[in-house]
Symmetry: none
Amino acid sequence: MFKIDQRGSTPIYQQLVQQVKEAVLKGILQPGDKLPSVRELAVRLTMNPNTIQKSYQELERQRVIETLRGRGTFVSLHYKPSKGKEKMSVFEEDLRNLLVEAHYLGLDRAKIMQLVGRLLEELKIGEGDS
Amino acid sequence: MFKIDQRGSTPIYQQLVQQVKEAVLKGILQPGDKLPSVRELAVRLTMNPNTIQKSYQELERQRVIETLRGRGTFVSLHYKPSKGKEKMSVFEEDLRNLLVEAHYLGLDRAKIMQLVGRLLEELKIGEGDS
Amino acid sequence: MFKIDQRGSTPIYQQLVQQVKEAVLKGILQPGDKLPSVRELAVRLTMNPNTIQKSYQELERQRVIETLRGRGTFVSLHYKPSKGKEKMSVFEEDLRNLLVEAHYLGLDRAKIMQLVGRLLEELKIGEGDS
Amino acid sequence: MFKIDQRGSTPIYQQLVQQVKEAVLKGILQPGDKLPSVRELAVRLTMNPNTIQKSYQELERQRVIETLRGRGTFVSLHYKPSKGKEKMSVFEEDLRNLLVEAHYLGLDRAKIMQLVGRLLEELKIGEGDS
DNA sequence: GTGGTCTAGACCACA
DNA sequence: GTGGTCTAGACCACG
């Protein structure tokens, strides 16, 4: 279900955070669904349980998942977009940097817009009704 | 000319790499232009010359700038989009992750497309003839 | 395991790069093997950890080794000959220069071919199936 | 007549040394031929005269050329292969390193031998009768 | 003057 | 424990 790239610069725990969020977004994980336990996932992904733990903590901090003591961890029923304007400007900066990279990879405006469009479909990001 | 954020997680040598690439892209730095010397820039940005060095060497590896021995460093006359398909898939992965973030920030499809469009203008990324 | 010439004009970080590549080629280091940690090797070779770092990073850029975060650095499982035609012409140029030197050292065609043959044996370079 | 690569790691003055030696080897420059004056060559190659000077000094040190005061510089009538065994081992080391590179460029034994053979032809290196 | 290498010593994030 | 970043200060070859 999750694919981790051991090499590559992004930290493993962040990759997991990303993938859980993506799964929720796509509807693969529905609100209320139970996530695998830390230990189980550690075995399946052959990772250190501490790393899984760190991912879950980060996801909980972002209100994407919730932990019910003794029951397990579940996808939050209502997640709220946070919208801090600080986060927005960080996001915009990241996006700008990525677009610079795109140009140095030989992509022009049309190809970039097309790629963004395709990924939005794939991620099922549409109007704000989600 | 360059603005470095001393705190913040992204390494400052990478920030400089990004900003030089962005400046070249926008035309602020033209092919053939001389870059400030390592020492001079170190003084202006109040950072260590070694750090500037690291940035310049990375930029040279990426063929964005060239070093003429004893004369200084210059913006490359012809930089070639590299196009490695591996780099492309890394890029696509990064973009996907960023779009997931966008959604969690409350942006819908329309707002994302609009933002991308605006940034492309700002960076002067147009058709492939640039 | 590695022998570094502290004096002599070639940078010692490059010497280390060369020797690692040679060790991999000879099979002394097998794909998947763990390299000594930066700190440990620094102690063993009595050099600065930063210098070792530089070597390792260069080797990683060349895809000879891979870094697994927090676990260490390893010989790449699959390294691919890069084959850039630009690199090829640089190589041919270097080889030409070296052959000119050979002549000025008093070596004739036969002795040169013999020496090349001997070194190829020593390095275990054979048919393309290695 | 001489082609200098301003970028690239090998020092300009060494490139010139190399090319003069190569020209002598090929017979383009014959023993007794007059070399261009420092100033003239500096103009033709758009280089700093000091750099040309350095090249000529190095060539003279290697006994490839001779300077006749007030007359100019000439290709030596009899150059003697030096054969210092120290130089030989340096040469062998350089050759070994280059062969390692060859392998990482995807060349196998046959292709390397073929390339060496071609270059020897091109440089007119034959039996020891030169 | 330019960039390139090296050391010493410090701090940090990741697993 | 691992590698990655940064500073301070030094020395060198090149043009």
